[in-house]
Symmetry: C2
Subunit: 197 residues, 2 copies
């Protein structure tokens, strides 16, 4: 009989982002040799997440309910809507404890080269929500990469046409950094966007 | 209700070797957003492997049978036994197509600092098999690291006392390399172990 369980496990682990065939083999050996309990736990967690996790009907982030806890939170400021690319970006903003509004999670970014268009990141839904009457300011917090900037531009233009106040996270010198080690582009932006102190 | 499925999945992925909390989050998001089929497949592969994969009763490698295909292969030279640390190392030796003997897979290496002793790498079983009468030469192919060398030394001394022929993989300059870029220790070993040509 051909041995299939181990090769199938290596192949399934390879589908994880950032995992090549050597890492996948090492993971499979590790689980089978040292952590079978961890393998069982991972199998259950995968099944449980695939069955239970869906998208929030309001903000599109992952949730196990129809509406996520953040969108349901009555203490949140419903006049502000922060647009981020991923749940990880949302978590980064949340960690600052400097924002008490709501979110819209694109679950991606516009990327024509990868075939990711407005429909894939739920722009119609975003526009519908932003123009529903409650939202007064949309804060664009997509990444400061080429694709993130382009996504912010497209969303910003569309929402401004609809009469909404649109803002973008400030670009500038990161907190705690020394100018000597900050890249040119960042310093140039910080100069252009300088503020009175 | 608290949301637990996604954090549990991230936590389970973190237990994989080489995966930190950021990678685990990225993997979880990727699976849930882009590859739920891959997540289901991985869950099945894990369950299947944990249930089906055990150790070969002769060589200790992973197998789904009592004895692995290599140990069962009648074309293999039963007089030679190659000792390697892991199934990955065994696969590396196999890929050379330069060896037709059998293997003993330690599934680890002696590492007193990590609490890995002779019992954890099945040395009693190895000695029993090596001295069973069939084996004439034991080829030590543990890694050329401090722990691999120490493991080879311990096994070699024990088997030589039992009257067996023990050899070690040759140390030297890797094929295709330029001396200028080879480290000192390797060149020194290659000088000491020089052979007539």
């Amino acid at each position: 009989m051909a041995e299939t369980a181990l090769p199938a496990l290596v192949e399934a682990l390879r589908r994880l982002p950032g995992v090549g065939v050597k890492s996948a083999s090492r993971m499979a050996y590790h689980l089978l040799q040292h952590d079978r309990e961890g393998a069982v736990r991972l199998a259950h967690a995968l099944t449980h997440a695939v069955e239970g996790v869906r998208h929030c009907s309001l903000c599109h982030t992952f949730t196990e309910e129809a509406v996520c806890p953040t969108c349901r939170d009555p203490r949140r400021d419903r006049a502000k809507l922060c647009v981020v690319e991923t749940p990880a970006d949302q978590a980064a903003v949340e960690r600052t404890q400097a924002y008490a509004g709501l979110y819209f999670v694109l679950m991606g970014r516009l990327s024509p080269l990868d075939g990711i268009g407005p429909r894939d990141i739920g722009l119609a839904k975003l526009f519908e929500r932003a123009t529903g009457g409650e939202v007064q300011e949309v804060i664009l917090a997509t990444n400061f990469t080429a694709e993130g900037e382009a996504t912010a531009h497209v969303i910003g233009e569309a929402l401004k046409q609809r009469g909404l106040q649109v803002t973008r996270l400030a670009r500038g010198v990161p907190a705690g950094s020394e100018l000597e080690y900050v890249d040119l582009g960042t310093i140039a932006h910080a100069l252009v966007d300088r503020r009175s102190s």
